[in-house]
Symmetry: C2
Subunit: 391 residues, 2 copies
Amino acid sequence: MTNFDYYSPTRFVFGKDTEAKTGELVKKAGARKTLIVFGSGSAEKSGLLQRMRTSLQDAGIRSIDFGGIRPNPKSGPVYKGIEICKKENIDFVLAVGGGSVIDSAKAIAMGAVDDGDFWDFHAHTRMPQKALPIGVVLTIPAAGSEGSGNSVITQDKTLLKRSATGECLRPRFSILNPELTYTLPNYQTACGIADMMSHIFERYFTNEPGVDLTDRMCEGVLKTIISAAPQAIAKPDNYEARATLMWAGTIAHINLLGLGRIEDWSSHAFEHELSALYDVTHGAGLAIVFPAWLRYQLHHHNPQKIAQFATRVFDIPTSGSAENIGEKGIAALSAFWTSLGLPFKLKQIKGFEEADIPLMTQKIKMTRPNELGNYNPLNYTDIETVYRSML
Amino acid sequence: MTNFDYYSPTRFVFGKDTEAKTGELVKKAGARKTLIVFGSGSAEKSGLLQRMRTSLQDAGIRSIDFGGIRPNPKSGPVYKGIEICKKENIDFVLAVGGGSVIDSAKAIAMGAVDDGDFWDFHAHTRMPQKALPIGVVLTIPAAGSEGSGNSVITQDKTLLKRSATGECLRPRFSILNPELTYTLPNYQTACGIADMMSHIFERYFTNEPGVDLTDRMCEGVLKTIISAAPQAIAKPDNYEARATLMWAGTIAHINLLGLGRIEDWSSHAFEHELSALYDVTHGAGLAIVFPAWLRYQLHHHNPQKIAQFATRVFDIPTSGSAENIGEKGIAALSAFWTSLGLPFKLKQIKGFEEADIPLMTQKIKMTRPNELGNYNPLNYTDIETVYRSML
């Protein structure tokens, strides 16, 4: 087990009707004027946004709307949000939505108290040290941004999709009401499931010894997601299934499941190039990438760990070689994801062209000049091979 | 799943040599003069205390020693510590030790900023609202107080052992170096294991539906503790085993495993009366109490949950009735604990007398005039019956 520093100061307010507490929580953070960041319409249509405005108003807090954030969020709206914050003396950023909205809100919150270009933090030329306080009302369980210190944004001009990390990006509070997810389309629910499971996988596949405690916690969360997923798809207003998925999505990414381990994160790098280029939903991209990465590793490095995953998560019998058990586990994972309606091949992505593979590989290399990942680091040729195995 | 509010702002600094960061962390909390609370000699003998003094001094922080805290900590030293804090203008309380030291430090930290009697908070006549900031350097993984908002103290004159709870009691930081636990006697290691497992059990046995996510996380942590325990006992300087137990003890009690559930806590009530009366180590008392409580419940309420515990944690085969499977699980638990050298009957406690059972039952009733626990609430007669089943 490696040394670690674990700090997760976000207050999670979970359950039915909890969004009514928004105004009170923003007020507790000492705020007076809030930027409400949201997406492209569903929060307005459902009436949630109006309830947020009212809740803030009741707590004596002024607010300005800032909508229109799109999936795979871009730098353009972030710059615009920063400008409004500075001009309007905003002192709190409230994200009402899923990962894209939250990540944009975090980038805005950093930029609002900074004189330079916020992209420096995503390009890793500067580390974020301060930000306006951030609050979250979550509507899509997937990205885990409601409990993380990360923000993933795509730069407009370069289509580089990059992540900034800092303690100042951890939300002061995150409100999680599973009922707000009842109206999610099944495809989006499925994408969220692939996303949260991948957050666990990126941490699970490690060479670090002595990590059985987190291994077993990872496996427990994965098993539960696999059991709850079809229930939420079959009956979108199944409260217990929605609640399980919502909290699992947070647990998957507050880094509790990565403590004491050297994590990998190759699959996210592979996927970020897909969603930057084709605007595919992140979780759908991961459903294509992850089994391919896992199968490549199965034949190149420590198949025992992959066999452990197969037996403990998918109850694959322990007879046969590790490769054989691992292969069955990967097949079970792919079958599970496709049963939810997720893609499994690159050709299922709209706009995908095989000729783009060298470009995507090149883009990964731009920020990772040496090797990719930690479980079994991949070089340029390996990355291209893994991409081609998704064809 | 019930609604919940989860807030765990403690920074956990885990791993080898991490105690060297103490001064820096205390300084970061804005402190200038620290009360170092410790136990009865081992921290001094091992040189740990001297390293703490030096670390604080190097960070420009003055400190005053306050040692002599004993297991099952009493109110007397707490009053003394409060007096010193007030007189010496202490602005930070650093606990160097296990649960007794930390709980005393928390009580001192509350009392130091209060004009009334700190016992009010333990007697639940007032709720704690503020306290001096608290830091922890943990030497015994067991009580979980390093990550909790609780403090358990026994009142000298009445021998009432009671718990105060408040967010202000959560430590600012907790330093966890597994190497500091190498010198723990095996019996104390074993008591810690029973304690942390019981913290999970108190949360696990619930009637709340839709809690499979936390069920599976509980089971994963329990399985890992059961696997690591004999390794730490056989080889006290096995870093991985010690690290697993240390982090498991924290995870067991930061309430992550109790979210969305109605917890029970009867067994702790039973045990508190034992340790208040006979000064038995809390974990040893729990090793006697818990199987007895569980066996009583097996024949009175929801044996399916107890069977689930048996099959998932102790791999008991699923054939037979729930009562039968549950009985095998309870037997496996008792066998595991006795294999670590823990007691399993009241008569193994020094000073125990059967005639004390009505007194202990009466003392439980004093603060719980109605019924005890939530899984299957116990009345006066039930409590006495459970105590007698431990004879």
